[in-house]
Every structure is written in C-alpha cells, then in structure tokens.
Symmetry: C2
Subunit: 590 residues, 2 copies
C-alpha cells in the first residue's frame, strides 16, 4: 500500500503567501480565505491519502478486465469512486445551476493534484467527465445541458473524448467516422475510435461519449469535423435510462501503465448521436475539452513526480548504506542513511525543486483561468492559451524524468514491483504522449501561440518578468540569488524569440527544429519567475518551512536555470543539423 | 515479432576506417582483416536477427515461471540458447585451452551488442557466464579451472554473480552470508542473496554461482569478504554431475522489465562451496567480474537504444500524419510520413548520434581491454579503468533516454504493448541500476578513478585530445565543425577537474555533489573526440554512408556538445545548493 501525505502546507503557502488569492479581484476569490481553503483542501487530501492511495498498487496489478462487453475495474474502485462522487469532488468548480459547487477552478486544480498523486488511473474516470461537461456546457443546447449535465456533475454518469482512430491521431483531418442524419434530428454514428480512456467501465450508470465524426456533406480535412454526444444508454425525456446504444468496447489496450484505467477500442455501429454545437465546427468544440485536458495532463506529470518524491525521500531517510564522506552521521548504526550522500540529495532536490515550482505554475495558470472565466479578463485567456502547451509538455517531460530519478534512489528495489516506483514511472510515461504529444505541444507553442495576437501574450510575459525585477531590485539577497538568474534566463528566451522572428518567418523549419528546446527554455524561465516570487514570500517568513523553501529556490536557480543556455544554443543551431540527412538516410541497415 | 537489422556497415566503418584495427600492434589484431571480421560479425548479426529478435516480445509477455523450485524460461529460449552455444558465441574470446575461440575481446563486444539489441533478457543468460569464467580463470586454482571452465565455455553450464542481500547492495561491507570450513577443504554457505540474474533456469545442465560470503574469522566490513564457487549440482572428479547442492531459488522477482530473464532470490542452506582466490580477498576477485559486467551493461544501454532507433526510424518513414511545413512531401498520399517534421527528425538524430558515438566508445574501450590483456600494455588498464564508469553510466543513462525518445516517435502506439517500444524502455531501465547504480559509477569516477595513479590516466586523455587537435588543425572543415567543439568540451572538462582539485580536496562533498555532472561532461567530451575521429574518417570517404556519418557528427557537435557548459555550471555551484537543506527537511508533509 502506497503512503501519500497531502502537501497542504505547501499549497497554503502558495495560496496565501505567494499569490495571496483572497486579495485578487476575481469573483469568488474573496471567499478563498485560509479558513475556507484549509478545510476543503484537507478533506481533498484525506480522500487522496485514505481512499485513493491505498488502491493505486491494486489498480496496477489487477488492471481492468473485459468480459462479454462489460469492463470490470479493479477491486475497490467502485467504492472509492462512490466516495468521490458523494463528496461532491466531481462538481467542485462546476455550475451550481447543474448541481456543481461553483468554487473557483483553482480549487479543482489543487484538489485534483492530490487525487492524481494518490491514484492517477482512478482519477481519470472523473477527470474526463470534467472535459465532457465543459464541451456540453459551452456548446450544447439548453435542453441538452438540462438533460445531460446534472448526472455528470453528481458523478452518476461519466464522460469520454473520442478523437483518435487507428490511422489518425494528431492529424484529425484524416478521420473517417461517419455521422448520417436521421429524420428525428439525431444522427447515426459509425466508425472505430482507439485509445479511449475510461471508454467503458462499471463505475457509473451511463457514459457520455463525445465523438468527432464527419457529416455526409462535410468538406475534407479538419474543417469537416463535427462533434456528437453519444450516450452508452439512450436517455428518456424524464432523464431515465432507455435502451442500450450501438456503441461498445471492442478491446482493452494492454499498456505500459495506468492499468487501472480502461483504455478502450470503441466501436460505433450506427449508434445514435446528437450534434453538439454547429456542424463542421466540431474541432473548436472539442478544443474546449482539449485545452482543459492538456492542463490536467500537466498536473498529472507534476502529481506523479510529487508522489514519487515522497517515496524516494522516505526511502533515502531509512535505507542504511555506506558512510557520509564527511564522517558518520549515524555512528551507532551499521551504516548511514543514504540521504547523507550528495548524489542522493541531488536527486531529491531535483525532484523537490521541480514539484514545488510546478505546483506554483499550475496555481498561477489556474488563477488565469478563473480570471477569464469568472472575471472576464480577455488578456487572461491569451495568457492561459500561451502557457497551456508549456504546462502540458514541460510538466510531463520533467515530471516523468523526476519519477525516473526517484526510482533511481531505490537502486535495485526501484526496479521490482514490490515497491511503487516502477508504477509511477510507467503511469507518468503516458502524460508525455496523450492529449497531443509533447512534440505537438512545442509545435503549438512556436507555430500558433507565440505569434498569436501579434505576439502580445509573450510580450506580456516579458513585461511581467521585467516588472518583478524592477520592483525588487533594491533587495540585495533577492537580486543576487534570484533576480540575476531570472534575468539571464529571460534574456536567453528573448534571444530565442528574436532568432525565430529573424529566421523562422522565411523558413519555418528553422523555428520548428528548435520548438522543443524553446518550450523547455520557456518552462525554465517561467519557473525562474515563480521561484523568485516564492523566494520573496519565503524571505518574509521565518520558519523551517520558509528556510527550506529558500534553499529549494536557490537550488533551482543554480542547478536548473543554466539549462537555458543549452536550449538557446540548440535553437540557434537551426534546422541545418536536424534536417541535413535526407529521409532516405534513415533506411534500414547502416 | 520485432525486426532487427544488424548495423554491419557501421561496425565495419569503425573497425577498418576509424580505428583500422588490423594495423594496431596488438597480438591477434593482425588477423582482424575485413575478410575475417565481416563473416564473423555477419553470422553474429544473423543469429541476432533470425534467432534472438523473434523471441524478444515473447520473452517479455510470457516471462519466467517458478514451479516446485524449477524455473521455466519463456517458450523458444531453450532452442535459441542451444543455437548460441552451438555457434561457439559464448566462448568467442575465451581461452582456447578451455575450448574458447581465442578471438580478441573486441569481437565479443561487437557481437554482443547485436545479441543484446535483439534480445537483452535472453543474452543475459550467457552474458553472466562470461563474468563467472573470468573470475575463475583469474583467481581459481588450475584444478578448478580444468573442472569448471570447459562446460562454461561451451555453454553446457552457465554462471551467476551473487552479491546483493536484502539489507545490502552498494555497501557490501554489511553482508551476512556465512561460509564455514569443512574438513575436506570445502565450505558450507548459508544465507540469502537477492536480485540474482539467471539465478535458476532450464537452459543449462548446471549453474555455477559465484557467491560473496564471510568466513568465521573474517574482519568486519569489506575486508572480510571471500568469494566462493557454489555449483547447483556438485561436480564429480570426472566432470560428471553429482548430487544437487543445497542452493535453491526461493522467489522470482516481479520486475518492470527483462521479464525473460529469471531474477531470483537465492537461498543457500549450508550449500557446498569452494573458495576462489584468497580468503578475505573476495571483493577483488569479484571486481574481476564486476568491471567486465559494468562494460557489458554500458553495451546494453547502447544496444537497446539502437534497437529502439531502428523501430522509430521505420515508423517515422511509414506513419502518415500532417504535412511538411515546407510543402507536401507525399502529395499523392493522404498525408506526409512524420519523418518530414523537424521535431521527429530531431528525436531520430538524437538517438542516431548517440548510438553511433556509443558504438565508437565501446569499440575504443574494447581495444583498450585487448591492449592490456593481449598486449600487456599497463597504461591501457588505467585507461579502461578510468572509462569503465563512463561507459556504464553514460551509455545507460543516455541509452534509456533514447529509448524513451524512440517510444515518443510512436505517439500513443508507443504506449501500448502491441508495439515493442514499451519493452525497450522497461528493459533499458535496469541498466541504470544494476552492477552499481549510475550514482555509484559517478562516485567511483570522481572519488577513485580520477585521482588514481596521480591523475595520470585523466592527463593521458587530455593529451590524446590535444594531440588529435594538433595533428588535424590544418584541415579547415575539421577545425570549424569538429575540433572547435571538441576543444570547448575539453576545456570545460579541464575546468571541472581544476574545480575538484581546488575545492574537493578540502571538502569531499564539493566534488561529490558534482559527480554525476562530471561523468556526463566527461562522456560528452569522449563522444566529441570520437565523433571528430569518425568525421575525419568519413571525410576520407565518398559515399552516402560517409555523408550520413558527417551529418550525424555535425548534429552531435552542434546539439549535444553545448551540454558541457551546463554540466560545468552545475559542478561549479558545488555542495552548497545540494546540501543546504538539512536531512530533517525531507520529513513527510510540507
């Protein structure tokens, strides 16, 4: 059974000392005082540690089973899911008109991180419900919303996203699933979808599939895709369940990880579906789900690293092996705990400085989401849109690497399944892939988000960095340890943007060859800004927590921020070295 | 079934154009002409692609089973192992006096790379035999050698290494397994060993366990460890098998990967054993095995990356998705192959430039082994000793990362077990851990190998770099593209050595905190030297192969060598940021 301790003090520090959320002028934020956030997040944490975490290993070992079209989730998942639904966690930030609790999105993110740390595969069953809710809420008719949203919000039903087909993942223009109109205004959906998370399971009474398909008159490519709602059981006018729809799980995928989540091949054999939003505008509607899903996947990367960190730190304190180079730390024992060794400490500090920086990032971006959803601040939408690929790809790439480092702390014990480390690595691996691979995120960042609105949102980011530096430059401790590295990273990022503007406009491959490095350079610069802000808040405090925060901030600045130069050097090498070898040079045998 | 194409042209280029092995004055190397190396390596490659590779997925899926004390290997492993033994591959570089083929160690390494690419878990059954042979050959009595070596060489028997116990891995001073002397000169061995690769299986008639244990009069710590030979079946004077010994497999470990290899808990219940070498000097004897094992593990990291690269390159050529930013490359098809996208090409070039550089490294080091084993050149031993931790840790750390990148090329298909990518990642992961974790390799490099013999071997490496630069400085192409980056990396490495000398002497943690970064900095510098040498050889040729080699060399120089600065910056940040947080700061809950 995997032990998990909710990082409540760290979350409270971010909310009330760094971002001081209760002082922000965002509707609903005035209620986010410590006496509200504290108990809510403590309850979310208790659910994570007491109910979800104990099932994480079981989910991995037992997996899901498909028997006669029915998918059975691992033992205990049904009971745990019921607890989640009863607690109102699925609708924590959803519209009270449909039964939600109407709290800021920020609270959903922070509770979600803990639930994902405790049990990622189980969390996914309601994580995707959230996305389905958003698509219907934003694009569905009033009647559709009234009929389908309340049971999603209270967890009786769940939702899925159906995009991928065997021959088409990233390039949705190739998709073949067909929708033909019926006389009653519904559609018949026919085709096959693959890699459908939570596609079929025994946790809820009904499942609402949101499916991309083509109408008969659809133009070719992505401009001919429409979004349909396809319930597993058709729903009567009074909300009761009608007959089973012609949609079924054809196969469960055997995967590297997230065994507790049912990843399904879904077959649509003339299933009844309902158009969501406008015909041929399905991609836009799907992106309402997708953007949120991408942020949630970033949270998954971070959350797995946090869970893995906790295990590694505990193991490093317990495992006795060798002696400190500076003299025995445990002279009465047979050996010292391995935490005395600098290389073990390096791994722990790598992970810790990543997860605490990442938690600041998801907090910052979630506040941005609330700014535009609740506060109608249009610039906030651009900010979130710019940062979405970074949250998704940087947090998952680094999060996976951190799980690997945490596994490394265990030596051989990290490789055997008696300990939970292999699972964290295997589970985290998918986060770099799904909801758009990390390469696609980098492409989205460089090709779309960076130049959008004339580059306004990127300029706003640089302005935010400059303002913070200007406002704090008089503090000598902040300046030397935190502002100088932030300045250096920001300068490298600026140089990369200039390189893309000078070279990438004429020759797109010059920018695309550096897209992944740009995303990482941006990620590190964002972390530098957030660590500088956290350092400032920590300097105002005087406790072991605040001193540890400062030490961790210094670690990130000194050991991680120098990576900005490496990424800039790669970006400046341009497309030449990447594309020099012709495609034929990759034939077999050499 | 996983496809594997032996990289014969690349190996031939290294042997005969880069290192020109047949011209080196090492006993036996005059025979390594292309007409000898070509057919031998082609046969090794054919065994890999035809016999071993088809069983790789089966081994992963079926794994090993323990039934009534007997371990059954996956279907097909017995037949494949028999083919390996029949072909004489186990003894390719072993002493003809015991039935070996007496070829240079280099040939074993290159054949081994292919066998590991094809099926790492299966290869391990005879890979460890090689280590057991070496320990007995170097430290056993003549009688012991005559009795035990021939059946190891011909593959009828296999060997294992037994070091780890539940409470002790790295710190062998803690080990508890006991050896008590008997009147007949043998010993009774009692204790439990864990993580024993190939500890029990059905491939051979007998298994020879080399076991570390303590004699009754042993001093405490590592100076009281002796090495024993413990056969599964006792061996009669005529070489026939006698009664079963009191050693048994108590459990098979459930592992993240290498499912086809039986990783055993081994119980010694008063088993009969024979002292190998001197009493209390067992660690030295075990290191005869261990050093070779560490080099072999480096080869595993490289070999898994090569196998994963082949799959990724093939997938990238086949998978149609999206269009090239520079205009359609496949205008008649529904989309372009993903190899047109710069970020996909980046991943392929990362892996390719790593595996080709790594193959040059294992070739270089294997020549060094032959220099001191066959040529009795004592400096060569220092060279190999210095490079051993780099080969082990750099090739496995980067090799694992490259498997992850190759998996990434597949998108969602990389995460499901229908494709072989998950297995490459899971199998490669162990190479960073076993035979001494990569952190231990870095400690060995910085704490032991770097200062050994007054730093002579490190100085010799710098001299080799300087000599190569001086001899080739007149060539403008070599200078700009290859020598300048080599110079830059070498300068950073030199600066790191100076930092350790100035700071690490007084305060060991100042050096230890930078040990992993030093190992990586050294690895990149070695790769820079080897890529410069390969570029020189490639410039002398005029074929697509040579042009591809040059393009790959340039890629490594431009995109990987700048990492040297990052590693130096981290090293120079010293122990401060790493050790600032007290151990108590890693308690649970924050």
């Amino acid at each position: 059974m995997t032990h998990y301790v909710p990082p409540l003090a760290d979350i409270a520090f971010l909310l009330h000392e760094v971002f001081r959320v209760e002082t922000l002028s965002i509707p609903g934020y005035d209620e986010l005082t410590p006496d509200v956030t504290g108990p809510v997040l403590a309850a979310a944490g208790e659910l994570a540690s007491e109910v979800l975490a104990p099932l994480n290993t079981i989910g991995d070992r037992e997996g899901c089973r498909l028997e006669n079209g029915i998918v059975r989730t691992p033992p205990g998942f049904r009971e745990a899911y019921a607890r989640v639904a009863e607690g109102g966690w699925i609708g924590i930030d959803l519209d009270p008109a449909y039964g939600g609790q109407g709290m800021p999105h920020l609270m959903n993110t922070l509770a979600g991180e803990m639930h994902v740390s405790a049990n990622m595969a189980l969390n996914m069953y309601w994580g995707l419900t959230h996305g389905a809710y958003n698509a219907i809420h934003a694009h569905g008719s009033e009647e559709m919303k009234a009929r389908y949203l309340p049971p999603l919000v209270d967890g009786r039903w769940s939702g899925t996203m159906n995009l991928t087909e065997p021959h088409c993942g990233t390039d949705l223009g190739l998709l073949r699933t067909r929708a033909t109109p019926e006389a009653d205004g519904s559609y018949r959906i026919t085709g096959q979808k693959i890699f459908i998370s939570s596609g079929e399971h025994d946790l809820t009474e009904n499942i609402l599939h949101l499916v991309l398909a083509r109408l008969p008159d659809a133009p070719a490519g992505v401009k001919g895709i429409s979004l349909f709602l396809v319930p597993k059981f058709l729903v009567n006018g009074d909300g009761s369940l009608g007959p089973r729809n012609a949609v079924s799980c054809g196969k469960l995928e055997a995967k590297m990880g997230i065994h507790g989540n049912a990843t399904c091949v879904m077959n649509y054999d003339g299933a009844t579906g309902y158009l969501v939003g406008e015909a041929h505008k399905g991609l836009r509607a799907m992106f309402t789900m997708m953007n949120e899903a991408r942020l949630s996947v970033g949270v998954q990367g971070l959350a797995q690293a946090e869970a893995a960190y906790q295990q590694a730190a505990a193991y490093a304190r317990d495992r006795l092996q060798g002696r400190a180079a500076t003299g025995p730390a445990n002279p009465d024992g047979p050996a010292d705990p391995i935490i005395v060794h600098p290389d073990v400490r390096r791994m722990l500090m790598d992970i810790r400085s990543f997860v605490e920086g990442g938690r600041a990032l998801i907090t910052w971006v979630s506040i941005g989401i609330d700014r535009y959803h609740r506060g109608n601040e249009p610039d906030a939408e651009g900010f979130v849109s710019l940062l979405t690929p970074v949250v998704k790809a940087f947090l998952t790439h680094r999060g996976f690497e951190m799980c690997v480092e945490a596994q490394q702390v265990f030596g051989g014990h990290g490789y055997v399944e008696d300990w939970p480390m292999s699972q964290f690595v295997r589970d985290a691996r998918v986060t770099m892939i799904y909801e758009g691979t990390n390469g696609i995120q980098a492409l989205d960042l460089v090709g779309r988000k960076l130049p959008s609105d004339g580059g306004r949102h990127m300029i706003a980011f640089f302005d935010e960095v400059k303002t913070f530096i200007r406002e704090n430059d008089a503090d000598p401790v902040l300046r030397a340890d935190f502002l100088d590295p932030l300045k250096a990273a920001s300068k490298d990022l600026q140089a990369a943007v200039e390189f893309f503007m000078a070279r990438g406009m004429k020759e797109p491959n010059e920018a695309l060859a550096g897209s992944t490095d740009f995303l990482h350079l941006f990620g590190h610069t964002i972390f530098a800004l957030l660590w500088a802000r956290m350092a400032k808040a920590a300097l105002a405090g005087d406790s072991d927590f605040h001193r540890a925060k400062l030490a961790t901030a210094r670690y990130y600045m000194q050991r991680q921020i120098p990576a900005s130069q490496l990424h800039l050097a790669r970006i400046r090498s341009g497309a030449g070295p990447v594309m020099a070898l012709p495609a034929a040079g990759f034939q077999e045998g050499r």
